[in-house]
């Protein structure tokens, strides 16, 4: 029996191992798939804009080139009239007024030309500076674009490294290494407890939600009918909460956040999104209904309290009730269904890890059972042997005595028989009966 239990434990261990590896494989595939999806999205996002980026860069470079060409033209220097003017100024025919006037005119003309030339030079220089100023934002834009490109590339590099890591893990799982098994086992144990704790918190939220809608539900479905031992209104409230959780699960499924129902995940995107919107609408309607029920609950509770006061002979309270609790209840009733939607995530983890944990627990129990059976078997075997030995010890004197008595009896019988035979031989003198002699011998022996 212990052997068959041990065999069952081995089989269960094999099954657990398969389940663990299968779950780990699925999880690793999912991670790699997600990462590839992200890389795909990033590449699509970045490379989709690559031609535009290239065009921008080209345009920027062309513009820079043009600006450079424009700024390369150095403004002309002022004409080399300085020497001429100096030479003319050096002439000193001050006695001749005609020459003096002529020189004065020349000087005036030259001064005007010089002023114009200077003005033109300044204008050219300022234009060149403006062109150079215009180049600065272009250069900054190009730098920014190149920076973005660099970031995208480093991001891709980072994701590629992560994929490498995931692929290594996946290989380890595929090769069924002990390290992978240990990691997966520890991971599922952690997942089991964490998701269990989150589910407990969610359960608390569901109870609060139930208490908010149980009383007003009796106003809708009646407070006097029962299904089995439970009030119909309580069951109706519970059904609404369960429906909200189910709708939340479908919502999460249609967003591909969870994979409790593979059929939803494998739907085409359009259908999936339709399902998402339907689930979201239903959830919003249910949340609205709950909010209305919470309002009704407040009214019923106030009415009940007034009745109790009246029955107790107390005058009803004149203090105006605050609207804050009513609003708080309504808001809470509206929000709780949406919060309960997220139960799908820990639920999935819990279900996935519970398979492994339950398998491990069952294997452990079988091991204990096999151990106990083996101990019981050994104890029974050695106790049996001990009892046989004790029995032998007790029975030995009796058997010994019996042997002695029987031997003595047969010996006396044989002696008596032989005496009788001798007597008969003497009387008959016939052929001796060999057969009877043999029998006697046997008896004596």
């Amino acid at each position: 029996m212990a052997k068959s239990v041990k065999m069952a434990e081995n089989k269960l261990n094999d099954r657990n191992r398969d389940v663990l590896l299968s779950a780990g494989k699925e999880s690793a595939e999912r991670l790699v798939e997600r990462e590839f999806e992200r890389i795909g999205n990033a590449v699509q996002r970045d490379l989709e804009g690559y031609p535009q980026l290239q065009r921008q860069l080209n345009e920027g470079l062309i513009k820079l080139e043009e600006d450079y060409q424009q700024s390369i033209e150095i403004p002309q220097k002022l004409p080399g009239w300085d020497k001429v003017i100096k030479a003319i100024v050096g002439i000193q025919p001050k006695s001749d007024p005609l020459v003096g006037n002529m020189l004065e005119d020349i000087h005036q003309t030259l001064s005007e030309q010089h002023a114009k030339g200077l003005e033109k030079h300044r204008l050219d220089a300022s234009k060149r500076h403006a062109v150079l100023n215009k180049m600065l934002p272009l250069l900054r834009g190009i730098k920014k674009t190149l920076g973005g490109l660099d970031k995208s590339l480093s991001d891709l590099n980072f994701r590629a490294k992560r994929i490498d890591q995931y692929m290594n893990n996946y290989d380890e799982i595929r090769n069924q290494t002990d390290k992978a098994l240990r990691t997966l086992s520890s991971s599922s144990l952690t997942q089991f407890f964490i998701s269990g704790a989150v589910l407990l918190v969610a359960f608390g939220g569901a109870i609060i939600n139930f208490n908010l809608i149980a009383l007003p539900m009796s106003e809708m479905v009646g407070g006097a009918s029962y299904i089995g031992p439970y009030k119909t209104s309580d069951i109706a409230g519970l059904v609404i909460i369960c429906l909200e959780i189910c709708t939340g699960i479908f919502l999460m499924e249609s967003l591909r956040i969870t994979r409790l129902f593979p059929i939803i995940g494998s739907m085409d995107d359009r259908m999936r999104m339709t399902m998402f919107w339907i689930a979201l609408s239903l959830l919003a309607i249910l949340a609205g209904v709950e909010s209305a029920l919470a309002f009704m609950r407040d009214r019923i509770a106030a009415d009940l309290e007034a009745l109790r006061q009246s029955l107790a002979g107390m005058s009803p309270s004149t203090v105006a009730g605050s609207v804050i609790p009513t609003v708080g209840q309504m808001v809470m009733s509206f929000i709780l269904p949406f919060i309960l939607t997220f139960v799908a995530i820990p639920l999935e983890s819990f279900v996935a890890s519970a398979r492994t944990i339950l398998g491990l627990a069952a294997a452990w129990m079988l091991r204990i059972l096999a151990f106990a059976l083996r101990i019981i078997g050994n104890l029974s075997y050695y106790t049996g042997r001990l009892l046989i030995n004790i029995y032998d010890l007790i029975i030995f004197p009796a058997l010994w005595l019996e042997g002695i008595v029987i031997q003595g009896f047969f010996r006396a019988q044989a002696e008596k028989d032989s005496a009788e035979r001798e007597k008969n031989q003497g009387q008959d003198a016939t052929i001796p009966n060999l057969g009877s002699m043999d029998e006697e011998k046997e008896m004596v022996q």
């Binding site: 009796s218 006097a224 029962y226 009415d303 009246s310 029955l311």
Partner: protein, 217 residues
């Protein structure tokens, strides 16, 4: 495989029948108020008990208050009766209306010359059986001293199977103080009637102990 399928079907049938079982959980209460001369002054206490019952009873339950007078086996002796609606808000209004009726009765009650408790019990049994309540309670607010007028015959056996009879505020009369055996005999007589009729019997004299009056039966 067939065996598993068979057990699955059996399990489903058991679960379904468990869910389909409609047990009547409604409570029916009939309170008899003694309005005979010696006891009429106690009716204020009865008012408190009725208010307590109104606070305890749930939607779908039934309550009626009947008076014990010279001839109590009559619908005219039912002071107020109501079967609460399944909706709590409507039930609350019904309770208010019932309370008002009882208040009016207590303030304007006239004392009766005789005390026909058996007639009141018969009326209560009839009413509660008609109401088809799951749990039936008859509360007797009286000193249990029955005095029948000439011509009234009440030697009818009471059919009290499934009824919980609770005697409330059984006051001691002057003669009881002289000879307590009279009081004890009176209570024992009614107890015997209730148990012989198939019902249960309780006496609650301390009105502070009304908590769970309807649950202990």
């Amino acid at each position: 495989m067939k065996l598993i399928r068979f057990w699955l079907i059996v399990l489903v049938i058991i679960l379904a029948s468990g869910c389909m079982q409609q047990t009547n959980r409604a409570t029916g209460v009939y309170m008899l108020l003694d309005t005979s001369g010696t006891y009429a002054v106690e009716l204020k206490k009865a008012q408190l008990i009725i208010n307590y019952l109104l606070g305890v009873l749930q939607p779908g339950d039934t309550i009626a208050v009947g008076r014990i007078d010279t001839g109590s086996f009559s619908e005219k002796d039912i002071v107020a009766k109501v079967k609460f609606d399944a909706r709590p808000s409507v039930a609350n209004n019904q309770k208010r209306s019932f309370q008002n009726k009882v208040n009016v009765f207590v303030s304007s009650v006239s004392q009766s010359s005789y005390t026909d408790i058996s007639g009141g019990m018969l009326q209560a049994i009839e009413y509660l059986n008609e109401s088809e309540s799951g749990k039936k309670y008859i509360l007797i607010f009286s000193d249990l001293q029955e005095e029948l007028a000439k011509g009234y015959v009440r030697d009818v056996p009471l059919e009290l199977s499934g009824f919980n009879i609770i005697a409330l505020n059984v006051t001691k009369l002057r003669a009881d103080n002289l000879d307590p055996k009279k009081y004890l005999g009176r209570v024992a007589q009614w107890r015997e009637k209730a148990i012989n009729g198939g019902g249960s019997w309780r006496v609650i004299n301390d009105l502070e102990r009304l908590d769970n009056i309807l649950n202990k039966g």
